[in-house]
Symmetry: C2
Subunit: 312 residues, 2 copies
């Protein structure tokens, strides 16, 4: 992929997504010693950046492929994204979801017209269920993060951020399956002025951190983190991009994620999900590194099950 592919992607999907607002906060700037620009993908359609990649991936299918539908497995937001993007484009979406996915996310998938199949909450079970739908329906499988068209779609969030603030020193994103940080890294590479990309990752699901160290894709044993969107692991398409273009990854503890999320809710007065708060938690954890820098932070989504959320 080159610069042209990113520009074409931006143009292709622009009428199907929101150019989301970028918020600033004097108080959070004072707290961190940096100048922070929060790209609010919680205000994106269906409430997360995943709408970008899902829309692009479906639009890149042939007419014949679109008619047979799309299928994915997702712990939540990509399921909603593919359902809504498919609905907007007149395509059927088959969604394999782990049976422990947040209730609010399952309900949203159904409300967007997604056709849900439940499975056990592990990657093998998800993949088997999806493969079965591919063979039965002829639907095209679209991976939530390890798909080049998804990555290109995701890149548009960083492109919008850099268009508004071309002088950012760095952009920080959460790292789950790797699709957001890979796309952001491409955006920064082609549209930033020596803009670094840094990942925030839960210590409890630090496969990306370990993968960058070992040079091969590592897995998570338990992935027991409140950041439910980040329990997945990197893939062979996004990992090389991450290796090449991501500066480093900062790992954060569970209580640091909750504390960061609470600060965002209290001070920005916005609802973001725990996964979103991981990037801000990384900035809070390593203030010295970010000091006096212009820092973009991608708040990846806002789909929270309010009935289960707890601040202590």
């Amino acid at each position: 992929m080159d610069k042209q592919a990113l520009l074409e992607t931006e143009q292709r999907i622009s009428s199907y997504i929101h150019n989301t607002p970028i918020l600033t906060s004097q108080l959070l700037d004072e707290l961190t010693g940096s100048k922070l620009f929060f790209k609010c993908e919680n205000f994106q359609k269906m409430g997360a950046f995943k709408m970008r990649g899902a829309t692009n991936a479906i639009m890149q299918l042939s007419k014949a492929e679109q008619e047979r539908g799309v299928v994915t497995h997702s712990s939540g937001n990509f399921a909603q994204a593919l359902s809504l993007a498919a609905k907007n484009l007149g395509v059927d979406a088959y969604i394999v979801m782990p049976n422990n996915a947040p209730k609010v996310k399952k309900e949203a998938v159904l409300s967007y017209g997604g056709i849900v199949t439940n499975c056990e909450p592990n990657i093998t079970a998800r993949e088997q269920a999806a493969a079965q739908i591919v063979s039965e329906k002829g639907a095209t499988f679209i991976h939530p993060s390890n798909d080049l068209n998804v990555i290109l779609g995701n890149a548009t969030a960083g492109m919008e951020l850099l268009k508004a603030h071309p002088d950012l020193d760095m952009i920080v994103t959460p790292v789950g399956g790797g699709g957001l940080i890979a796309g952001t890294a491409l955006a920064a590479h082609y549209f930033g002025k020596q803009c670094l990309v840094i990942g925030g990752e839960p210590q409890a699901a630090d496969d990306a951190f370990r993968s960058l160290q070992s040079g091969q894709i590592e897995t998570n044993e338990a992935a027991n983190t409140v950041a439910d969107g980040l329990r997945t692991q990197l893939g062979d398409i996004n990992f090389p991009i991450i290796q090449k273009h991501v500066d480093h990854i900062i790992r954060v503890e569970e209580e640091e994620i909750t504390k960061a999320m609470k600060l965002l809710w209290e001070r920005l007065k916005i609802v973001v999900e725990p996964s979103s708060a991981v990037a801000f938690a990384a900035v809070l954890k390593d203030k010295e590194y970010f000091k006096d820098k212009f820092v973009g932070i991608i708040l990846s989504g806002g789909n929270v099950d309010l009935e289960t959320i707890k601040f202590q």
Copy 2:
């Protein structure tokens, strides 16, 4: 007060406050059958519309009065507003707070430099404590809602809303002490095109509803509502304005307030306090009345104690 007084107020305070964003939601429009415009005073400085009235009231004092400071009693947001407005203008603010006020609001008052005196949570105790500070310090008492300069300052939220959307059929605000709805009623009278103003009020603190019925200021016995900003009652300065310019008041139950707040958090992805949700709850309660109308809703504030909030 005339149109000119409103215009002068807007100009006077404009550099001290935010012209807050106005959000819309296709989903909430579909849910209500109306076209809704949410004026987000939760994004106002210190997190509530009260910053507008507090700033205007202090600016209208003489230099000599400003040097002796200001004093108020408040269940929360006006305390923060007067503290921050006073700080911005180099004035001392003495704040009398009930000892059951939300923790997050007390801490905020202190962080804005307010000088706090605690009192019992009833109006008599508040008034006595404030009167004592007036006599000891020579400070000027500023009432949170029953003060013409506060009302004029509050009016600027409605003015901004009508400037952005001149054709609103009605504006709905929460009703507590009456300062917001009185200001909004003046804004609609002078700047709307036959724009009605309607109040949302908790059934458990429905003094304004009863006052409009009886023609005299009624009191609340218990005021046991989750909308802690609305436990106060109308005053002799705002009541005549409300009688003249407010169309009617819709009362809502506690569970309707919580449900409305949850919808706003989930769908707009913003943090609003229970008092804010009362206006939207009123629209949800009487959908037939608002059907097909262009409805402005003033979301009054976003200062919530996240540690105590519960959605069931």
